[in-house]
Symmetry: C2
């Protein structure tokens, strides 16, 4: 297949590297950083910088920028996408972005499928990208009336990238789940390291500190965008969390051992059953 | 050295296994579970079940039970400890336990040194214990007027167990730090998995879900004891956390991108500087 990747950061770079493994595809790319394009070419990951024609005759175009950037690019290049080109994205929130891109695709007659590869790292560069980033991860696709063959093509490429499962969902369900599984841990990690004790942790910290604080090494531009694109679901989840922390807090504060034990036992059971 | 370990769970079992590697020591142990003692004997980790005499002539006695159990054991066996025996513990909180054991040691003339090996796992059994559990971890010691040679002996054994650093502190400073580095992540993990979305996470979750929820697989008996033994520091840290989560929540809720970006950037800086 001919594949164009727009944005060679961690996500786009990892897609390019994973699809380059088999040497079966012609891969082109765009990036605002010319050095990254040169790196990707010289390391054999991409064939060349993409031109407008490549948007027209690619089988698949992966849009791997920030949410705002994706929408801007689609609007600016709507007329360049070919009628049989599958345009897909990697955007971590869907409700706000999906319907807008879908509208542009219907108006301009190209195929758009909303997608979210569920993988990441605290470092967001092409240098950190990795052919194995998606190994075992979920590839989430927004189910709609796009051609069946287009979904099959993306599924087949996802298998090449070694995703562990394909999940079909709606934009609303996606954003509700992502608020809990991905955005909330980032909120938590950032709030956690704001404690005045944090700078003194060395010598007193082990695995549980390391794990809960890991994603505090956040890209604040990207995540501000992601959080604000999913305000309602995220605020709901934060409020649920504060409520549950407060329950444990009050049991500790009032030295209510039975209540505290019951709360912790319930959490243990959830974790044991649902992993 | 002759060493007695009381309690062969994850922590005591790992001490036994780590010290058994060199085959230089005579290791004895006690456990309420006879099967665990048989396992430890048949696998060559300990020489035999400990008798009262072993408490008297051991160089070091490691007390590796729950906080309440440690105190009960010290009180019940105060007269059995030898004058040159170093009694030490592994208790995850210090203010409440340390001074009580210290009082018993002064009254009965044995050496007591408060300690906390900063390592753990979500599974709390001898089967899960591991000679390498302490590799690179911190071994925290409460500095006081116990003999210098006793501290040196514990330090030398800690090096055999492959601890990465020895940290000296006070009971108060220890408990304040542990509230933040260890107890708070456990509170968080438990509160996090209480969300109604949690049971549906599969397919939508990746590394950040896994990391923040890991320690929700909690031993509720042990941690109820630990939390309630450190109430004041823990409630303080929970309140600071709720306050910081609320700051992020309000920035998201009011769609204040500048404020949100500034808060996340501050967290990123803390994490980058202090790790």
């Amino acid at each position: 297949m001919k594949i164009t990747i727009v944005g060679l950061g961690l996500i786009g770079g990892s897609i390019a590297k994973a699809l380059a493994v088999s040497k079966k595809h012609e891969i082109y790319a765009l990036d605002v950083n010319e050095d990254v394009l040169l790196d990707a070419m010289s390391s054999g990951v991409i064939r060349n910088k993409a031109a407008f024609e490549d948007l027209t005759d690619s089988d698949v175009v992966y849009l791997c920028m920030y949410p705002e950037g994706i929408l801007d690019f689609v609007r600016a290049n709507a007329s360049h996408f070919g009628k049989n080109t599958i345009v897909t994205d990697v955007c971590g929130i869907k409700t706000q972005v999906y319907s807008k891109i879908k509208a542009v695709s219907e108006e301009n007659g190209f195929i758009y499928i909303g997608a979210h590869p569920m993988a990441g790292k605290e470092v967001n560069t092409f240098a950190a990208s990795d052919a194995a980033l998606y190994f075992g991860a979920s590839y989430i696709l927004i189910k709609d009336n796009a051609p069946k063959e287009a979904f099959e093509k993306l599924e087949s490429l996802a298998k090449e990238m070694q995703f562990g499962r394909i999940v079909y969902t709606t934009p609303e369900e996606h954003d509700k789940m992502i608020a809990f599984t991905s955005q909330l841990p980032h909120v938590l990690a950032c709030a956690y390291v704001m404690s005045p004790e944090c700078p003194k942790h060395v010598g007193f910290s082990a695995g549980s500190y390391r794990d809960v604080s890991r994603v505090a090494k956040i890209n604040e531009v990207l995540w501000t965008d992601l959080f604000l694109s999913n305000r309602e679901s995220l605020v709901d989840e934060i409020d649920i969390l504060i409520d549950n922390i407060t329950k444990i807090r009050n049991a500790v504060d009032s030295a209510d051992a039975d209540e505290l034990k019951a709360l912790l036992a319930k959490s243990r059971e959830v974790k044991e059953i649902y992993g």
